[in-house]
């Protein structure tokens, strides 16, 4: 017999949980948030900092927290100490907490009390707690001793979906119960005078046509609010509910949510509701919507709390984010749309164009060629000049810079450009640049040192003007510096321009959607001797003088680098340079991140804007380092924050086709547009920053489908990895060099996320989110892990290549680089570069004789990925994909991930393939061989010898049935019927005898066997075409290992294996002594776990394990 302690070791302990936030409550100046069984405590120091103070772990054991009830103090003062009842599902615990500046302490906690039924509501009744239970009964409980004092059922013992307890003593206790029948039942538990006999309902109230999920009672006004599955909120006038027989009157039926309403809360003057649509609405008691808070992602808002004194609303989401919003009630101080009343007898003509010079000066031109100034501070119009030559057609553009540099430019249909100093319009300078129409004007500013104006004329010629000021300030000089030539297209003009720091190049966007790079001083480049090259480019573009009617003999310089049609036919709308990157926006609904390397533009990442915003008009960097996107969404102008997913400003301006202008400073933002012959102006104080606070950033909005650990970064003490745990919670020695694991996750929410998980602090930081997929992302594979400076470079950092795949047969390849960055909370920054993508249906569409083939189903999902790194230099890895249409497909990645090609496929399984796993076989005197194992919904495993497949001349890869089709994989070298149904996890480990193979299934079983390989010796192999023979040696099955799908499985050593299942158990198994034997298991909190990854951290730290499902949990154990 083995020593018993062998069976309890290793023990997994939870280190970190990210789960839906299901409970929120304000206690004094603290916020309690329930996440799984843990309580997060935030300090809401008014005016001071808002920050996470503490995590109180495992308060409710394996229950999830659904609510907190703070015991009211007799004197109504809960400023430093409180008793809190924490409840969720069938569990209840009382904690006594105290707090003061900078500290929060748990003074005492009761036992964890288990109820016989679900707890829908709890209420303090003096020292005891009343509980409303699942089948319509009420219990009076002594929470200190842990005993039930009384239990009273209702005569109608239906299952409830919510309940609300009212009253402060048992005698007056009233319960409003939400029954499955959609009715409200009001009854009085104290009416049961004898033997706790069932009590009949006093009143039944109908109205909702769906289940009631939440209720709130406002005693002071005698109001009750209910939230329902029918997507509505109802407000009821109920008077004092503690008095039997009162009248219940429905006074409001509020439809505003576009999905089920999970939560409702009545405040003295407002009603707050939140639901599955991720929106939190603020209503008046009369049923009018006053505010809408949008920003949570995924399946909705699960918890709400309010701090009435501070006028805060706090929401907790299924995305595990927590946000704080400001209640402002009616009216919006400091913002709104106003008409600037241009029309007047003294100002003839119709407005043609408008622009903003900084945030307080507006300029407009009329069809009489008059230029007007409106000062937003002084609020009056003033004519600056009038020039008839600009009356039939006039472009107007103010110079950039916080106050618009005091300059603006006009251009007309005859090639004339006028640069106007706003304060001294008489000093305006006119130039005739072209013989035809000026199509566009744009400015480019470098610091405060260099100001250029670009004007597009006929034939794709762009004149670049240099503007300087006389030292007196009373005159300006405009000098044509050079001319550029755009690539040919029908609408051949530029749309935007910006200096690329340090300033040697200009980045421009054009109407055809291309992004172009021009030298900012081409002549200088030539003088320096680089000009030969530039000249050659010019020549190659067929430039020269006279192609577009330029009068001067200036050379027209072509771009040194072009990304043709990057934004599609509708054109580029803006370029911005920031932080070493170039950002471009376009009318294709996307924004691009690019950089310039070796004088060439390179796309890094394409990001979609918010849904419905097909016309992205611009991009701004705001003070907190994040960016906001400007654009048009149908008739509205929208300022959208990709970081918080919030629409910060919405202006119903009628769309982007009329003249409009935008400007922002830290103090204010302004948006002006023309409407009905007048200028309309929207202004908002505070600029583009969001007034709301993200207490905790969200992770994925929907289920996590795959987790993969990429590697570890060791940050020296100089980086001072911060910790939210109080110092006394840190184990001594753990302050040492900060080990941070980099993990990537992907989700049904179509994004891939890069996370940093420091080992010492139990925190998680989302470094970046990549959103390229159009459908859910189900699988990830990582390869080529290295460091940014190469193996010799001692600096910390991590680089890797990632392939992601999912729904609609879509696959993307990108690289990530994680480097130290002291300015971020994690001390790390992640750079992502998109390399290539592949869609099966597009692949089919490209094949020439596709009419002869069965088109692949575009609904095919990629279920799992495996990377097989080849040992042949120069040949990129193979990526194997398990596909829902029954195929296993092999892709070849070449050119470090920039080319992704379908190589071969097999329909051997004929059923949905769920898993693929690759491994290599290495043995002395034998060639290294690559194997792939695939598993399907019928419980069978197939093994493929990929080395043979890739051998030229071997028969393993059959030529395609049709030219243009991928090769066909032959027959597998071994098949094993391991389970009765779907295989949801698969892993292998090389051992002395061969390979240990383990699989876990939907039926809860594990299958473990030894795979032996009889491979030919190297010399023999040279001669013939000998392939290895695979045999199954020892084979074991554990039928009821788990009560649900086994979705995670790792063989840690030849004698230890760990499995994870949807039954929420993490179980260790002993291997190597015949049948795998159960050692121990731990219950974890993430439901629907879809994937698990485990890795050794360090000898002192042991292993870490990440579980991803409806949330993320990290466990560790010592080896």
């Amino acid at each position: 017999m083995d020593a018993p302690e062998d069976y309890v070791w290793p023990r997994a302990t939870s280190e970190l949980i990210l789960l839906p936030v299901t409970g929120l409550e304000c206690v004094g100046d603290r916020l309690l948030a329930g996440e799984g069984p843990d309580v997060l405590v935030y300090s809401l120091d008014f005016g001071g900092h808002l920050r996470m103070m503490k995590r109180v772990q495992n308060l409710l054991g394996h229950y999830l927290i659904h609510g907190f009830r703070v015991r009211p103090e007799p004197n109504g003062d809960v400023d430093s100490e409180a008793m809190v009842a924490v409840f969720g599902s069938k569990g209840l615990r009382i904690v006594k907490v105290s707090w003061g500046p900078g500290r929060f302490r748990e003074l005492w906690r009761s036992g964890l009390w288990n109820m016989s039924d679900w707890i829908w509501d709890a209420r303090w009744l003096e020292g005891n707690v009343a509980l409303a239970l699942g089948h319509n009964s009420v219990v009076l409980y002594d929470p200190v001793v842990g005993c039930m004092l009384q239990e009273v059922p209702c005569t109608d013992r239906c299952t409830l979906s919510s309940a609300c307890l009212i009253g402060d003593t048992w005698k007056e206790l009233t319960i409003v119960a939400g029954a499955v029948s959609n009715q409200l039942l009001v009854w009085y538990p104290a009416a049961a005078l004898i033997d706790n006999k069932p009590v009949a309902p006093d009143r039944r109230v109908s109205g909702h046509v769906g289940v009631i999920f939440s209720m709130s009672y406002l005693e002071s006004k005698g109001l009750l609010a209910t939230a329902s599955e029918d997507r509505s909120v109802r407000i009821w006038k109920v008077g004092d509910l503690r008095v039997p027989g009162g009248r219940v009157q429905n006074i409001g039926h509020c439809f505003g949510h576009s999905a089920r309403v999970w939560q409702v809360k009545l405040l003295e003057n407002y009603l707050i509701s939140a639901g599955e649509d991720c929106v939190c609405l603020v209503w008046s008691h009369e049923g009018e919507i006053l505010q809408a808070f949008r920003g949570h992602q995924g399946r909705g808002i699960r918890a709400i709390a309010a701090h009435e004194r501070q006028a805060w609303v706090v929401t907790g989401g299924d995305d595990s984010g927590i946000r704080l919003w400001h209640l402002v009630g009616r009216g919006y101080p400091g913002s709104g749309v106003s008409a600037l009343c241009f029309k007047s007898r003294s100002r003839p003509g119709t407005l043609k164009a408008v622009t903003l010079a900084g945030s307080w000066r507006l300029l407009a031109v009329t069809d009489t060629g008059a230029l007007y100034l409106y000062d937003l501070e002084v609020k009056c119009w003033e004519q600056l000049l009038e020039d008839k030559r600009f009356q039939s057609y006039c472009l107007l553009e103010a110079a950039p810079g916080p106050e618009g540099f005091g300059l603006c430019a006009m251009a007309n249909g005859e090639g004339r450009v006028k640069v106007v100093p706003i304060n001294t319009p008489t000093a305006a300078v006119d130039l005739t640049l072209f013989r035809g129409k000026v199509h566009s004007l744009s400015w480019a500013l470098r610091g405060y040192e260099e100001l250029l104006l670009l004007a597009s004329g006929p034939g794709g010629v762009v004149a670049c003007l240099e503007i300087t000021a006389a030292p007196t300030g009373k005159a300006i000089f405009v000098k044509e510096r050079c001319r550029y030539l755009l690539p040919p297209s029908k609408q051949r003009w530029h749309t935007c321009s910006a200096f690329l720091p340090p300033g040697d190049f200009l980045v421009c966007g054009d109407r055809r959607g291309s992004v172009l790079l021009f030298p900012s001083r081409p002549a200088l480049l030539k003088d320096l001797g680089v000009g030969g090259k530039a000249g050659a480019v010019t020549g190659a573009l067929g430039a020269g003088s006279g192609s577009g009617g330029g009068e001067t003999a200036l050379t027209e310089w072509g771009p040194v680098s072009t990304l043709p049609s990057l934004h599609g036919k509708q054109g580029v709308t803006s370029v911005t340079c920031h932080g070493g990157y170039v950002y471009t926006t376009g009318r294709d609904g996307a924004y691009y991140q690019l950089f310039v390397r070796g004088g060439q533009l390179q796309p890094v990442l394409r990001q979609k804007s918010c849904r419905g915003m097909n016309w992205v008009a611009g991009l701004r960097m705001v003070a907190d380092g994040s960016m906001v996107i400007l654009g048009f969404h149908a008739n509205e102008f929208v300022v959208w924050s990709p970081r918080s997913h919030e629409k910060l400003h919405i202006v119903n301006c009628g769309g982007g086709h009329r003249s409009w202008a935008f400007s922002d400073t830290e103090a204010a933002m302004a948006f002006a547009y023309l409407k009905d012959g007048d200028v309309m102006l929207y202004r908002a104080l505070g600029g583009c920053t969001r007034p709301h606070v993200i207490l905790r950033e969200s992770l994925h909005g929907r289920e996590i489908t795959c987790v993969k650990r990429v590697g570890t970064i060791t940050l020296g003490p100089e980086y001072e990895v911060p910790s939210f745990m109080q110092p006394d919670h840190l184990e001594p020695g753990s302050e040492g060099p900060g080990l941070t694991d980099i993990v990537i996750t992907c989700s049904e929410d179509t994004t891939v996320c890069v996370l940093a998980l420091p080992t010492a602090t139990g925190s998680a930081h989302a470094l970046t989110a990549v959103c390229n997929h159009i459908s859910s992302v189900r699988a990830l594979a990582v390869w080529g892990i290295g460091t940014p400076g190469g193996p010799q470079d001692p600096r910390p950092g991590l680089t890797a290549h990632v392939v992601s795949a999912g729904g609609r047969a879509e696959m993307h390849c990108f690289s990530i680089m994680v480097t130290p960055d002291p300015s971020t909370p994690s001390r790390l920054a992640c750079h992502v570069m998109h390399l290539s993508s592949h869609r099966l249906d597009e692949y089919w569409d490209r094949q020439r004789n596709r009419h002869r083939m069965v088109k692949v189903d575009p609904e095919t999902r990629y279920m799992s990925l495996a990377v097989c790194e080849l040992d042949r230099p120069g040949l990129g890895p193979l990526v194997a994909a398990a596909c829902s249409d029954g195929a296993v497909r092999l892709f070849l990645l070449q050119d470090s991930g920039r080319r992704l090609q379908l190589l071969a496929e097999t329909f051997h399984h004929k059923r949905c393939v769920l898993k693929v796993h690759s491994f290599t076989h290495e043995a002395p005197n034998q060639r290294r061989r690559l194997f792939l194992c695939s598993a399907a919904t019928d419980g069978s495993l197939a093994f493929w010898d990929l080395t043979t497949v890739l051998d030229h001349g071997s028969g393993a890869l059959e030529p395609p049935a049709d030219p243009g089709l991928p090769y066909r994989l032959g027959t597998p070298c071994l098949t094993v019927q391991a389970h009765s149904c779907g295989v949801n996890s698969l892993h292998t480990l090389p051992t002395r005898e061969g390979h240990l193979v383990a699989s876990g299934s939907e039926d809860g079983s594990l299958h473990v066997f030894v795979l032996a390989m009889e491979a030919p010796e190297l010399e023999e192999a040279m001669g013939g075409d000998l392939v290895p023979q695979l045999h199954v040696l020892e084979e074991y099955s554990v039928p009821c290992a788990h009560a649900a799908h086994v979705t995670g499985l790792k063989i840690l050593s030849p004698s230890l294996m760990v499995s994870a299942s949807i039954d929420q158990r993490l179980t260790f198994w002993r291997l190597g002594h015949g049948e795998p034997t159960f050692m121990n298991s731990t219950v974890y909190h993430v439901p629907d776990v879809a994937d698990m990854d485990c890795w050794p951290v360090s000898p002192e730290f042991g292993h870490r394990c990440a579980l991803g499902g409806q949330g993320l949990e990290v466990y560790n154990w010592y080896d």
Partner: protein, 346 residues
């Protein structure tokens, strides 16, 4: 996405329509029967949570030989009538004795041979709540079964295989001599649903059925939370391997050579609780917030939190920051006070 896209994604959905079943779940019951011969010798069956009625369709066709079978169907929702099926509209968690009596009455005083329950709550996405609600439906069905089922009879009910499913197994084992967990192949791999197949109804001695009280779920005791004594009942996959794979996407022309023809759904969907909200939305009459919608103005705490790193990309290509020149280059940027006063027109 056209109307055929669901046909492609879900082969059983399509087959159900083509075979006249009201729901794809018909195949689940058929496959369960293939494995367990549930209908053998059955003449009286109760279908709990029956709407829209495909299980009732299967039952009425398959039991009792030449149409001598009796089926009682109970659901919260009304469903289109089916020949030979008695319908009772009601909440099964709230059954009064009368419902059980009504069932027995319909069977002319005889107990039922088979009770099936395919009930599922409208899932909220919160796993613990959904699992609890599902367990309550199962226990309510079991409670009814204890009244109407003959000794030795069979009970089949939908379960969610989540964290606490083993508690349900231990509870079912109190009443049945043989409890199994079965999953028909027409149920997807990605779904946590399965069916508890309980054969040989054999209540403990002295057990008195009581419909006035709900059956409450067990809690962990000997059936440990995390120990090796958890009760995991044997798992059986039903339906033969050659049947269609519910996780696979199939081309519209199936391999059996039959040509695809679009079939409209057998039963139009029952009016959902959110119908009014949808109508209002379609008409653009959902309440909207007051416009102009924008930000209240107040100072903001910018906050640095774990899991709060703003998406910040730094320096791949270094940006050279020049000090901001305040020299005389741009005198136009700072208009003087007189200027703006001068410019003011009445």
């Amino acid at each position: 996405m056209g109307r055929t896209s669901k046909d492609k994604r879900d082969v059983y959905y399509r087959l159900a329509k083509e075979n006249g079943w009201r729901a794809r779940s018909a195949f689940k019951l058929l496959q369960l029967d293939e494995e367990f011969h549930l209908f053998q010798g059955v003449t009286r069956a109760v279908d709990l949570c029956a709407a829209p009625g495909s299980w009732s369709q299967v039952l009425s066709q398959k039991i009792g030989g030449q149409g001598s079978g009796h089926v009682v169907a109970v659901d919260l929702q009304a469903m289109a009538p089916l020949p030979g099926v008695l319908q009772i509209q009601g909440d099964i968690t709230q059954v009064r004795l009368s419902t059980a009596k009504e069932i027995i009455q319909h069977f002319e005083g005889c107990p039922a041979d088979l009770v099936v329950c395919d009930g599922a709550p409208d899932v909220t996405g919160l796993h613990d709540v959904d699992e609890y609600m599902q367990a309550q439906l199962l226990l309510a069905a079991l409670n009814i079964a204890t009244h109407v089922l003959k000794p030795g009879g069979c009970f089949v009910a939908k379960i969610f295989r989540g964290r606490d499913v083993t508690l349900i197994y231990s509870q079912l084992r109190v009443f049945f001599s043989n409890v199994l967990c079965a999953k028909p192949r027409s149920s997807r791999n990605s779904s946590i649903e399965a069916f508890a197949v309980c054969q040989g109804y054999d209540p403990p001695e002295g057990f008195l059925p009581d419909l006035t009280k709900p059956l409450l779920d067990h809690s962990y005791d000997f059936n440990q939370l995390d120990g090796p004594t958890r009760i995991i009942v044997p798992f059986v996959t039903c339906g033969d391997l050659s049947s269609y794979d519910s996780d696979r996407s199939y081309p519209l022309d199936l391999e059996d050579g039959s040509e695809y023809k679009y079939t409209p759904p057998t039963q139009p969907p029952i009016s959902p609780p959110y119908q009014e909200a949808c109508t209002l939305k379609k008409k653009g009459r959902l309440a909207k917030e007051l416009r102009p919608q924008d930000c209240p103005i107040s100072t903001v705490d910018t906050l640095s939190q774990p899991l709060a790193a703003p998406q910040r990309h730094t320096l791949l290509a270094p940006e050279v920051r020049k000090p901001v020149a305040q020299g005389p280059l741009c005198p136009f940027s700072e208009p003087t006070v007189e200027d703006s006063e001068m410019n003011c027109s009445p």
